[in-house]
């Protein structure tokens, strides 16, 4: 069963946009995804007819808005198969979710000499918050190394986990596409007595996620990468863990009571949602989840596997030794993210030439500078695929790259 990309494309108004007469070939969804009409409309309609504060006022309009906001929480829980919607915290983005973990859980649980295990393919969002904590607390950070084809090298995992209090890793690399064995890694973490934290930012938009099957402890992801609005992110955590964590940001909504002398906190999730939350954004996110579920996450994954296979073959066939695509070749364990170097061309120049044909890719370090170092490059060009991409998009990429030859005369 493959999805009907032509129909899906019609749902995304921006894909109709032409720049200088050429259609948009959007291959930067790993960065941020485009939005279907259902999401845009859900937000406008809400703002036009139903916008109101949530959790604070008691008139009907406010009650309805609160229900709508909480409805989004329920949808998120369903999407990742969380046991309870109360375990879903809304943040501003996955980065805030990771900082919340590092700071609220980290400060309460880590002290000098404790070990945090990360991997060499993490996004800065899963490195810098821990490094900040490391500086403050004298915590040690270790990294799981990579195999030459861009998988986690788990040979010494036991040793690396020895003494670790937390193992935090990405469920899908935003550079290599690599999908590590998340459930196995969570088990290993638990066997070593460590907390299992999953950066699911790239995984959730493209796969059927199941936090219970993973047996993860804390999971972070973002709305804007899964057809939802910007300005809202998610943190899921097991109730016992979230309950035991101290608060992160202080202010309205997260309190139980406040006096001049101190405060007590509200129960989770309110405890971690200080201030006015992204209300309309939660409504848009709910529409995005309904949209993705309507198509089917497993079907989306299947489509992306097929398209990734197509792209790997098309690029390798056409450019042979002129292109180096990083990450595993087996699409069973890689998502639709294709980072590559092309001849001696700098990614900025590659992206510039592609942009001339409206092919949108990202050139740079992809917020994964340590990984760039491991790969021995300063930057890569990255094309990333989503449910609205098709073979024509990949073909446009291939043609665009071929065109680069003319300009630079290699």
């Amino acid at each position: 069963m493959s999805i009907d990309v032509a129909t899906i494309r019609k749902e995304f108004p921006i894909l109709d946009r032409e720049i200088d007469g050429a259609p948009l070939v959007y291959l930067d969804s790993g960065n941020t995804s485009q939005k279907p009409r259902a999401v845009i409309d859900a937000m406008s309609t809400f703002l036009e007819q139903s916008y109101a504060p949530i959790n604070r006022s008691s008139y009907r309009l406010a009650g309805e808005a609160t229900d709508a906001y909480e409805g989004a929480r329920t949808a998120v829980a369903r999407l990742i198969n969380a046991p309870s919607a109360d375990e879903v915290v809304f943040t501003k983005n996955a980065t805030e979710s990771m900082n919340l973990i590092a700071q609220a859980w980290g400060r309460a649980n880590l002290s000098a000499g404790d070990v945090v295990l990360l991997t060499e393919m993490e996004h800065h969002a899963n490195i810098v918050p821990w490094q900040m904590l490391a500086t403050e607390r004298g915590v040690d950070i270790r990294y799981v190394p990579l195999t030459p084809d861009g998988q986690l090298d788990l040979t010494n995992l036991g040793q690396l986990l020895d003494g670790a209090k937390v193992f935090s890793f990405t469920a899908m690399s935003n550079v290599l596409g690599t999908i590590p064995p998340t459930a196995q890694l969570c088990r290993a973490a638990h066997d070593a007595g460590a907390l299992a934290v999953v950066d699911a930012c790239q995984y959730v938009p493209h796969n059927a996620a199941d936090v219970q099957a993973w047996d993860a402890d804390l999971v972070a992801f973002s709305s804007h990468k899964m057809c939802g609005p910007s300005g809202i992110g998610m943190l899921w955590g097991r109730a016992e863990i979230l309950d035991a964590m101290p608060p992160f940001l202080g202010g309205g909504n997260m309190i139980d009571t406040v006096s001049l002398d101190g405060f007590t906190t509200a129960p989770v999730p309110a405890k971690f949602e200080a201030g006015t939350p992204p209300i309309a954004e939660a409504i848009g996110l709910h529409a995005a989840i309904n949209f993705l579920e309507g198509i089917g996450l497993a079907e989306i994954r299947r489509h992306e596997m097929d398209l990734t296979r197509y792209a790997l073959d098309a690029l390798n066939d056409r450019f042979a030794d002129d292109i180096t695509i990083f990450g595993p070749d087996n699409v069973e364990i890689r998502g639709g993210v294709l980072s590559f170097t092309f001849r001696d061309l700098h990614p900025h120049d590659v992206s510039q030439v592609l942009d001339e044909r409206n092919v949108c890719v990202r050139a740079g370090h992809h917020c994964a500078k340590p990984l760039m170092k491991t790969l021995g490059v300063v930057a890569t060009t990255r094309a990333s695929l989503y449910l609205y991409n098709d073979e024509a998009d990949v073909d446009a990429l291939v043609e665009g790259l071929a065109g680069a030859t003319d300009i630079f005369g290699f």
Binding site: H346, P347, H348, Q352, G364, V378, I407, F408, G409
Partner: protein
């Protein structure tokens, strides 16, 4: 929209393929400065040798070498820059930096009398970059690094020996 030919002029590609003054200088006596563009990860290492540093703006840029990695725009800009400043005084080099950054439409550059008359030579070819705003940072990276190096060269006590 502006075409790629506005950006990738032949002279730029020439400097990109055959960068001038690539390499290193002993430091000291040369000043070594690093610059990078956080957006794309480009890095530049600039070696600057100045004669009679104590003369300040009257000191002479006697040699420049460039290392690091970058795109065609940042590499060619650095290459052309190195050619343009070798032999100039520190004061002239600073004037050229102002002139070039103003060509790149960088805000907040205060041109001084006479700056407008400075001949840009090959550097004129980089004018097209302005039409591609995201690339401006690439073009000015080496210039900012040179500015740093000049400040350090003419303020630091002369290297002993």
């Amino acid at each position: 929209m502006p075409g790629l030919e506005d950006l990738y002029r032949e002279i730029i590609l020439d400097h990109y393929r055959t960068p001038r003054n690539r390499g290193e200088l002993d430091s000291p006596p040369a000043i070594e400065t690093n610059g990078h563009n956080p957006l794309c990860g480009d890095e530049i290492t600039l070696f600057l040798l100045v004669d009679d540093a104590s003369k300040g703006d009257a000191a002479t840029v006697s040699d420049v070498k460039i290392g690091g990695q970058g795109c065609s725009i940042s590499q060619s800009s650095a290459s052309m820059m190195s050619q343009a400043v070798i032999g100039k005084t520190a004061g002239e080099a600073r004037a050229l930096i102002r002139r070039f950054k103003s060509l790149m439409s960088i805000e907040g550059i205060e041109l001084q009398p006479g700056d407008d008359d400075i001949a840009l030579g090959d550097l004129e070819a980089l004018q097209g970059v302005v039409k591609f705003p995201v690339r401006i940072k690439c073009a000015v990276l080496s210039w900012n690094t040179l500015a740093d190096a000049l400040d350090r060269a003419t303020s630091e006590p002369p290297a002993s020996g």
